[in-house]
Amino acid sequence: MAERIRRVAGIMIPVIAIAVIVVGLWPTGETSADPEVRARHVAANIKCPFCSGESIAESTSAVAGDYEVLIEELVADGWSDQEIYDEFAARFGDGILLDPAQSAWGIALWAVPLVALVVGALVILDLRRADRTVAKVPEEVP
């Protein structure tokens, strides 16, 4: 009897848990359109023009604060994220954008981890294959 309860519980617990997760996280269709969140996201992707290596969102300098307000205003005026990025890039050069995904150089950067992953995986698979071919060779010199 106890064994049976345990076995039923062993099936029911994960099933119920998965059901809760799926129902709870099911997309409701509302997108997060909170302008403050959007402005912050945009500010995090733009480098603070006169600071050292921080984004506008991260920097506590007065300049960054001014640009943060500007971005909030642009968002409120209905600018899209891309339009804001383009505006900053036009004013300060492409180097102002922290996410380089838009340019050719940016795409090249994205290729780096992917290529490295493929090469690494191939090497490991090769290790496995090489094992079969050299298995007959004595492994250690005594």
């Binding site: 994960p14 997760i21 709870g24 995090a44 991260e58 180097g95 996410d99 780096v112 290790l127 010199v141």
Partner: protein, 679 residues
């Protein structure tokens, strides 16, 4: 006077290091290395390094402003702790600390070597060669004892390169960089990082010596595995404390910005972690001999690269405190290290490489290989991302920035994969793991993970990422604890008591269980990273005096502005009362403020943090406090778990360190030296 003594110390250490390099190398190649022949140079290196270090501290504590370093980095009003820390906080002093740590480690290596020990002598020779660079740097481009030769408006404006000639002392020094004296963690974080950085020199030195002698086998790994663990543990602690400092001081409400210098500390950590794991594979299964050499060389190179990025100012960063001739010197040293090590490796690889013996990808060693793949991929990506702006500018002249968006997006999937691999890999059997065995060992933990994820949904978490991390993290922790219980039960089945069985289980394999404690810490850290980024509430409020606002269930009330004058700085800020959402009785008073230092034009923003059972409430000024005040209010759920998880990881490192060496230290007679058959 003290400058001359200190500089003499540097010269003694420099000469001793050169002698050590030559004598060590000769001993290693002849095979008849005599421990006694190395005593004098080792003692000279240690004594010289200590004299230099003590001299700079005495000069600072006695306010000897005729020394340019003291005049530039300390002041009479600097508090005692920060005076002490100034000995290593700025460029020249940090190199003294580096040198003295290297000397101490070299001495311990010499202490633990056998009477005749070719490998040990060779490793000491490499330590000597590395020390020549650092003490050579101190003697020339980064001389901490350079004298102040001209003073304008009370500020030392020029210095001699060498401590010779007439010195002029300004009446007071400039004081430390404001960021460096703003928080007590700054006194601890750099030495810990340096212990890690310098510690990785030891396995590197043994690896180079083993390569030069064409030593096969795991002797060099056996003799350095505790060094690597020690370095790794300190580096881990240093990185976490650095994150904490950033959180407490920089005021933007985060702890990690993918800043080049933060990346510079992460790189040796990632590669070093890969090395510690792949060393296990070689020690247990004889695989990956050549790969381990590559990893340890890469780890050491990353520590030099990290120092270069920190100290050269080549990449704009909040950490780039100084620019000087030290940058080019470090770059040259880095290139020499990489080229020379890899050339040596290329000549010797065929002698030390082990035949691959991977029976199945689904096995403990298979998972450790996966770990290596993911960690080195992570490191490579961070490296390329960090250097990319330089590469692109050199190649095309156009400016590109690589920041948080790129690093976040790349690291999240890699981190998920690492976490999953940690959970399954830790309990996978060696050689071949049948899926049924893996499933049996992880089934219960999978249920725990699902229940935890469902629990997160029930308490209101709606972020898919956070729910996934909670589920996987609990899976990892449950797998490890379940496996521990299983082992203890098995040990107890012989009639032992449970507590004795548990003690025996841990004692029998301290290395393994220390590693598992670190894995549990990693899972906790992952949860904290997810909740503090995925569930954070950020808000900016403008309050008049006496007004309140509610942010994420907390009431912030602007009590009054204040100004406090301390000997070394002025604190200007707002007093904020924190209470529950109904704005009742305050349970905390926070003082977000700016610190104004006499030697800095720009004030340093200093946030105030309240830590509760669940949330951190982080308040920082977004403008001057007057009749009204603009505040940035952040609420970070489970922020404390990040620091606690970090402490668990570090504790795991120390537990693993308690383990006794697997084999007695090999003498040169016992060492496995590769001989060509019949030769």
């Amino acid at each position: 006077m003290i400058a001359v003594v200190g500089y003499a110390g540097i010269l003694v250490a420099l000469v001793s290091a050169a002698v050590l390099a030559v004598v060590g190398a000769r001993g290693a190649m002849r095979g008849s290395a005599d421990r006694d022949s190395l005593r004098l140079p080792v003692v000279g290196l240690l004594a010289g390094g200590l004299v230099a270090f003590v001299a700079i501290e005495i000069a600072i504590l006695t306010h000897d402003f005729s020394i340019a370093y003291v005049a530039a980095n300390t002041a009479r009003s600097t508090p005692f702790v920060f005076l002490l820390a100034s000995g290593w906080a700025a460029l020249e002093g940090s190199i003294v600390l580096w040198g003295v740590l290297l000397a101490v480690f070299t001495t311990v290596m010499w202490w633990t070597m056998r009477r005749t020990d070719g490998l040990g002598a060779g490793a000491l020779g490499v330590m000597g060669a590395v020390a020549v660079f650092w003490f050579g740097l101190m003697a020339t481009a980064a001389n901490p004892f350079a004298l102040c030769t001209s003073v304008t408006d009370g500020v030392c404006t020029a210095s001699s390169l060498l401590p010779l000639g007439a010195a002029i002392a300004p009446l007071d020094g400039l004081g430390p960089n404001p960021l460096l004296q703003n928080h007590i963690l700054m006194a601890v974080h750099p030495p810990l990082l340096y212990l890690g950085y310098v510690g990785f020199t030891v396995p590197f030195a043994f690896a180079i010596a083993a390569l030069a002698r064409a030593d096969r086998g795991t002797t060099w790994l056996d003799r350095t595995h505790r060094w690597s663990l020690l370095a790794w543990t300190f580096l881990t602690a240093g990185i976490f404390l650095g994150g904490w400092w950033s959180y407490e001081v920089l005021g933007w409400g985060g702890y990690w910005a993918w800043d080049p210098v933060e990346n510079a500390a992460l790189l040796p950590w990632l590669v070093g972690t890969a090395f510690i794991h792949s060393a296990i594979v070689q020690r247990r299964r004889g695989m990956l001999q050549a790969w381990n050499f590559v990893l340890v060389i890469a780890t050491f190179a990353m520590t030099i690269l990290g120092t270069f990025l920190t100290r050269s100012g080549v990449i704009a960063s909040v950490h780039s405190f100084t620019q000087s001739a030290v940058g080019p010197a470090l770059l040259v040293f880095l290139l020499v290290v990489v080229v020379a090590s890899l050339a040596l490796f290329a000549f010797r690889a065929h002698l030390v490489a082990s035949p691959p013996r991977l029976e199945s990808l689904v096995s403990r060693e298979g998972f450790l290989l996966l770990n290596n793949l993911l960690l080195t991929l992570f490191a490579f990506t961070v490296l390329v991302g960090t250097m990319y702006p330089l590469i692109v500018e050199a190649a095309s002249g156009s400016a590109v920035s690589v920041g948080r968006p790129f690093f976040d997006r790349v690291s999240v999937p890699i981190a998920f994969a690492i976490l999953l691999a940690v959970g399954v890999g830790s309990v996978a059997p060696w050689r071949v793991a049948r899926p049924s065995v893996l499933w049996q060992r992880t089934r219960t933990a999978v249920n725990w993970g699902l229940v935890a994820a469902a629990g997160a949904v029930i308490v209101g978490v709606r972020s898919v990422g956070v729910v996934a991390v909670v589920g996987i993290a609990v899976f990892v922790i449950a797998t490890i604890i379940g496996w521990f219980i299983h082992q203890v039960r098995r040990a107890a089945s012989g009639g032992k008591g449970i507590s004795q069985a548990a003690g025996d289980t841990v004692r029998n394999d301290l290395g393994y269980w220390g590693g598992q404690v670190a894995h549990i810490g990693l899972a906790l850290v992952a949860v904290a990273i997810a909740t503090t980024s995925g569930l954070a509430v950020r808000s900016e409020v403008l309050l008049a005096q006496g007004e309140s606002a509610v942010v994420a269930g907390y009431c912030v009330h602007y009590v009054e502005p204040f100004i406090r004058t301390l000997p070394h700085r002025v604190e200007d800020g707002a007093r904020i009362a924190l209470s529950d959402a109904d704005c009742g009785d305050a349970f905390a008073v926070l003082e977000p403020r700016v610190h104004i230092y006499p030697n800095a034009a720009q004030a340093v923003a200093t946030p105030a943090v309240w830590t509760g059972f669940v949330d951190d409430v982080y308040v920082s000024l977004a403008g001057e406090a007057g009749e009204d005040v603009a505040l940035q209010v952040f609420v970070f759920p489970l922020q404390w778990l990040l620091w606690a998880g970090g402490a668990v990881v570090v504790a795991g490192g120390f537990i693993a360190l308690l383990r006794k060496p697997r084999r007695p230290v090999a003498t040169s007679d016992e060492r496995e030296r590769f001989e060509v058959p019949g030769g």
